[in-house]
Amino acid sequence: MFAFIVSRVLQAVPVVLVVGLIAYAMFAFVGDPVTIMLGTDYTEAQRVALVKQLGLDQPFFVQYAKFMWAALHGEFGISYRLARPVTDLLAERMPATLELALTASVFALLIGVPMGVYTGIYRTAFSSRVFMIFSLIGVSLPTFLIGILLILVFSVWLQVLPSFGRGDVVRFPHWSTGFLTTGGLKALILPAVTLGLFQMTLIMRLVRAEMLEVLRSDYIKFARARGLGTRAINFGHALRNTLVPVITIAGLQIGGIIAFSIVTETVFQWPGMGLLFVQSVQVADVPVMAAYLVMISVLFVLINLVVDLLYYAVDPRLRVVR
C-alpha cells in the first residue's frame, strides 16, 4: 500500500515538471511584463535594470530551472504586478477557491448521485423524464450564462442572494472561511451552484447510465431471486457496482471544478485564485500564472491518487499485489 502510494507520487514528478515547463515557456514568450510594468514613459537604463532585476536576461532554461527549484521550496517568486511574493498571494486566495470548489463538489455529488440512482431505477417515471430534460440544460448551457441567469433571478429580481464577493468572512491565521456566517453561506450559494451544475448533471447522467447497465446484470437478478430488499439491491449491490466509473469521472470533474472556477470567480467577483489568475493574465504576470498552473497540476495528481485509492477500496478485483 505504502509502496503503491510512493510509486504513484514518483510517477507524478515528471508530469508536474512538464506542466511547469509548458506553463513557464508559454507565458515567458507571450506578452512583455517589462513594458507593461514600466508604462509608457521610461528610459533604456530603467528597462535594463528591471530586466536584470526580474532575471529575464538569463537563458530561458536557467530561468525555468530557478523557477522550479524555488517552487520546490514553496517559493514562486515575486508577482510583477503586485510586487509581493506569489506564495503569499496564492495562500491568501486559496481558502476562497477551495471553499467554493468544495461546496460545488459536495453539491454535485450529493444531488447528482441520488438523482442518477433515482432516474436509473424509475427510468420511465414522469419525474425521471423531467430530471433528464433539466440535466440536458445543465450539460449544454455554458457556465457564465448560468451564472448570469442565476444572478438575474436571485439577486436582481428576487433580491435574496448576493451577486458578488464572499460576504462576511471569519479570519484565522492561515485561513479565512465563509462557512461560519449566514452572510458567507448565502454568498456561497450562487457561485457554488453555477460551478457545480455541469458536474452535477454529468454525474447524474453517468450514474443513471451505469445503473441501467448494472440493473440488467445477472448478479442483480440473482439478488432479487434471493429475495433481498429493494434498498439493499439498489443502494448496496447496484450502486456499488456503478462506483468505479463514477469515481473516475467524479475525480476528473472535481479537478475540473477547480480549474473552471476561473470563469465562475470572474462572474461573481469571487476573491479566489481563479480571479487572481485572470487579473495576472491581463498584465502577463508570469510568476503568478506559472505558479497557479503548477498548483493545478499538483492538485490533479493528488486527485488521481485519491481516485486510485478509492478503486482499491471499492473493487476487490483490483487489490492484486503489484
Binding site: 448478479y219 440473482f222 431471486a225 434471493r226 429475495g227 430488499g229 439493499a232 471499492v314 476487490p316
Partner: protein
C-alpha cells in the same frame, strides 16, 4: 399436497405489432421431494417458466393468464413485497453462469449472511457460523478462511457451489435450477449435479431442473416435462418418457439416446427450426416439422392427453 402447481400459465410480451404469447397454457405440478426435469430446444420457454414462477419476469413480459400455487396458495398475484419474502425463503433459484451471478464486490460470506438474515432471525455471529457450515456443506475446502474471499478468487465450479449454497441457505422448499451445469467445465458437471442431488435429497426439497443434458435428466430427475414453442408437449415419469416417448417431438429428442444411462448425450437436432412467436402455425405448433402430421394437426391445437404411459399434446392419442 403438491409443493408447486402451475395451471394454464400464460406469459405475454406486448409489442407494437400485437401481443406475443411466449408461454401458452403451461401446466405441471411438483410433489414434495420430487425432481422435475424440464427439457426442450433453445427458446422453448423453459427459463421464462422459471422466471414467471418466482415472479421475476422482465418487463414488458407479464403473466397473461393461469395461476401458480405454492403449497396450495396462489403466489402469482401477490404484491411485490410479499413475493419478495417468498423468493429465497420458499423458492430458491440457481442460475446458469456462476461467473456472472455472484456480486463481484461482496465477499461470498457477506452474500450468504445477507441472504440468511433477510429471511431468518439470525444474529451476526450465528449467521456467520451458518455461512461457514454452508460453505463446508457444498464442499468448499478451508471454508473458515475462504468465507471472506471474493468471487473472483474461486474457480467456476467452486463459484457454482457457492451459488447453490446461496440458493439453499434460507431453507426453501422448492429449488428452480436453470441449466446449473451448462456453463461449467465438463469434468466438474457431474460433481455439481451430484452435490445438488445430495443437498436436495437430504432436505427433502422439490426441484425444477431445467437442462439441455439428457444424461443429467436421466440421472437426477423423477419426472420429465418436454417443452416446445411455449407449451408442455409431453410429461411423465423419467423412464417412460425416455424409453417410450409418445409425442413425435420427444421421439425425435430421444432418438440419439440408445440406453437410459448414456450420460453425455445431448439433445439431437431435429430437422427444421422452432416457429417464431409471431409466426405460430395454426393447429399443433410442431406440425411443420412433424413426420406424422395429418389434417387435424393443421386445424386444431392439441392439449395434454393420456398417451400410452405418459401425457402428450398430440392428436395421435385422441
Amino acid at each position: 399436497m403438491n409443493v408447486l402447481d402451475v395451471e394454464n400459465l400464460t406469459v405475454e410480451f406486448p409489442t407494437r405489432r400485437g401481443v406475443l404469447r411466449a408461454l401458452d397454457h403451461v401446466s405441471f405440478s411438483i410433489a414434495p421431494g420430487e425432481v422435475l426435469g424440464v427439457v426442450g430446444e433453445s427458446g422453448a420457454g423453459k427459463s421464462l417458466t422459471g422466471a414467471a414462477i418466482i415472479g421475476l419476469l422482465e418487463p414488458p413480459g407479464r403473466i397473461g393468464g393461469g395461476q401458480v400455487l405454492l403449497q396450495g396458495h396462489r403466489i402469482d398475484d401477490l404484491p411485490y413485497e410479499k413475493m419478495r419474502r417468498i423468493r429465497g425463503k420458499q423458492i430458491g433459484a440457481i442460475f446458469q453462469d456462476p461467473l456472472t451471478t455472484l456480486n463481484p464486490l461482496y465477499s461470498v460470506g457477506r452474500q450468504l449472511i445477507e441472504t440468511m438474515q433477510t429471511h431468518l432471525p439470525l444474529s451476526n455471529a450465528d449467521a456467520r457460523l451458518r455461512a461457514v457450515r454452508w460453505l463446508e456443506d457444498v464442499g468448499i475446502p478451508a471454508a473458515k478462511q475462504r468465507i471472506d474471499a471474493y468471487p473472483h478468487e474461486f474457480s467456476g465450479g467452486m463459484r457454482q457451489r457457492v451459488v447453490i449454497a446461496l440458493a439453499l441457505c434460507a431453507e426453501p422448499r422448492l429449488v428452480i435450477a436453470d441449466e446449473p451445469t451448462t456453463a461449467l467445465d465438463v469434468s466438474i458437471q457431474a460433481q455439481v449435479i451430484a452435490l445438488l442431488r445430495r443437498l436436495t435429497q437430504e432436505r427433502g426439497l422439490s426441484v425444477m431442473l431445467i437442462t439441455h443434458d439428457m444424461g443429467v435428466i436421466a440421472e437426477a430427475a423423477d419426472r420429465i416435462a418436454v417443452m416446445y414453442a411455449g407449451r408442455v408437449v409431453e410429461i411423465g415419469g423419467v423412464a417412460e418418457v425416455v424409453r417410450h416417448p409418445s409425442h413425435p417431438y420427444t421421439v425425435g429428442l430421444m432418438g440419439s439416446i440408445p440406453v437410459l444411462d448414456a450420460r453425455v448425450e445431448r439433445l439431437r437436432q431435429i430437422e427444421g427450426a422452432m416457429p417464431r412467436l409471431n409466426a405460430m402455425p395454426p393447429g399443433c405448433p410442431f406440425n411443420p416439422r412433424c413426420p406424422r402430421t395429418f389434417d387435424r394437426c393443421r386445424d386444431e391445437r392439441p392439449e395434454l392427453m393420456p398417451a400410452r404411459q405418459t401425457a402428450a399434446a398430440c392428436w395421435l392419442y385422441a
